[in-house]
C-alpha cells in the first residue's frame, strides 16, 4: 500500500481514534502517544490493511489493547479519578455554560466511575456508534454479553442520576 492510500484510509479515522484514546486514558499526552504507536503499528502492518475490510474495527481494537496496556502500566484498571479530571478541565474541558451543566457534570462523574469494561463499551456504543456485533468482536464477548453490559451501565448511570437529581429510566 502506498503512503497516500494509507493516509487516505487512516486520516478520517484519526479524530475518532484520538477521542477514544483520550477518554479511555483521560490524559492528552498518553492519548497522543497511544495514537502515534497505533499509526506506526498500522503502517508496519499496511499489507494486512489492504485485505482488512473492517479497518475501523481493526484500528479501535488495536487502540483498545494499547490503552489497556497503558492503563496496566499505570497500575490501575479504572479510569482517572476526579483529581485527574480537574487537571484535564484546566486544559481541555469545554466550559459548561449550558442550561443542563449540573446534570452533565453529574453524568460525567457517573460515567467516569463506571467499571473499565462498561466504560469502554459505552464509549464504543454511544460515542463511536458501533453496532453490538462489532463491539462483541472487538471485546471478544458475545453479543448478548455486550447488550447486558450496556444495559447495566445505563442502569448504573440512571440509578446515580436518580439518587442525585431524580432522573432515571422508564
Amino acid at each position: 500500500m502506498h503512503q497516500k492510500a494509507f493516509l487516505d484510509l487512516i486520516e478520517p479515522l484519526k479524530p475518532a481514534l484520538f477521542g477514544f484514546a483520550f477518554r479511555m486514558l483521560r490524559n492528552r499526552e498518553d492519548a497522543r502517544d497511544a495514537m502515534q504507536e497505533l499509526l506506526m503499528k498500522l503502517w508496519n502492518n499496511r499489507k494486512n490493511l489492504e485485505t482488512n475490510e473492517k479497518i475501523k474495527t481493526y484500528c479501535f481494537t488495536a487502540l483498545y489493547h494499547d490503552c489497556i496496556d497503558r492503563l496496566r502500566l499505570r497500575n490501575r484498571m479504572h479510569f482517572a479519578g476526579s483529581a485527574d479530571l480537574v487537571e484535564i478541565a484546566d486544559n481541555t474541558r469545554v466550559d459548561l455554560d449550558c442550561e443542563n451543566s449540573d446534570l452533565i457534570r453529574q453524568i460525567r462523574v457517573a460515567m467516569d466511575e463506571l467499571p473499565y469494561k462498561q466504560k469502554v463499551i459505552m464509549e464504543l456504543r454511544d460515542f463511536q456508534g458501533f453496532e453490538y456485533e462489532e463491539i462483541a468482536r472487538m471485546m471478544e464477548m458475545t453479543v448478548n454479553a455486550v447488550r447486558v453490559t450496556v444495559a447495566r451501565s445505563r442502569a448504573t448511570i440512571s440509578e446515580k442520576m436518580k439518587e442525585e437529581i431524580g432522573y432515571g429510566t422508564v
Binding site: 503512503q3 479524530p15 477521542g19 477518554r23 492528552r28 497522543r32 503502517w43 443542563n100 444495559a151
Partner: protein
C-alpha cells in the same frame, strides 16, 4: 433492555456532544503531532541511481586505469617485456648459483664427516653381501 427516559436521553446526548467537542478541541491542539513521519518517497529512485552510477564509474576506473591494481587488460611494450624477462633470468641464475653453492657445501661436509653424499646411492646390505660374494669367488 434498560433505556434512558426521553428527557434524560436528551441530556445524555448533550453530554456526549460536549465530550466530543472537548475531544475535538484536544485533538486540534495535538493534531500536528499526529502526522505519520514517513520518509519522502517521491525521489526514492535517486539513491539507488546515484549508487549505480558511482559503481559504474568505480568499476570502469578499476578495470581500465593504469594505476588500478585490478586492471585486467595490460598492454606491455616490447621493452617492458624484455626488461621483465631479463629480471626473471637474472633472478633464476642467482637462485641456481646459490643452490649449486649450497649443494657443494653439503658434499664437502659429507666428505669431511665420511657420510654418504646426498647425490650417491646409499649401499644396501644386499649389495655389500654381493660384493663379498664376488671377492670370495
Amino acid at each position: 433492555m434498560e433505556q434512558f427516559d426521553p428527557e434524560f436521553k436528551n441530556i445524555y446526548d448533550e453530554y456526549v456532544k460536549l465530550e466530543k467537542a472537548e475531544t475535538e478541541r484536544a485533538y486540534s491542539e495535538i493534531e500536528n503531532d499526529l502526522t505519520l513521519k514517513l520518509p519522502v518517497r517521491r525521489f526514492r529512485w535517486v539513491y539507488p541511481a546515484a549508487a549505480a552510477i558511482l559503481l559504474l564509474i568505480a568499476g570502469t576506473w578499476a578495470l581500465t586505469s593504469e594505476q588500478s591494481p585490478f586492471r585486467t587488460k595490460q598492454k606491455y611494450t616490447e621493452a617492458e617485456i624484455r626488461e621483465s624477462l631479463e629480471k626473471t633470468i637474472h633472478a633464476l641464475t642467482a637462485c641456481s648459483k646459490t643452490v649449486r653453492q649450497e649443494f657443494s657445501r653439503v658434499e664437502d661436509l659429507s666428505a669431511m664427516t665420511g657420510a654418504i653424499s646426498p647425490g650417491k646411492k646409499s649401499p644396501t646390505p644386499n649389495s655389500n653381501r654381493n660384493e663379498s660374494n664376488t671377492t670370495k669367488n
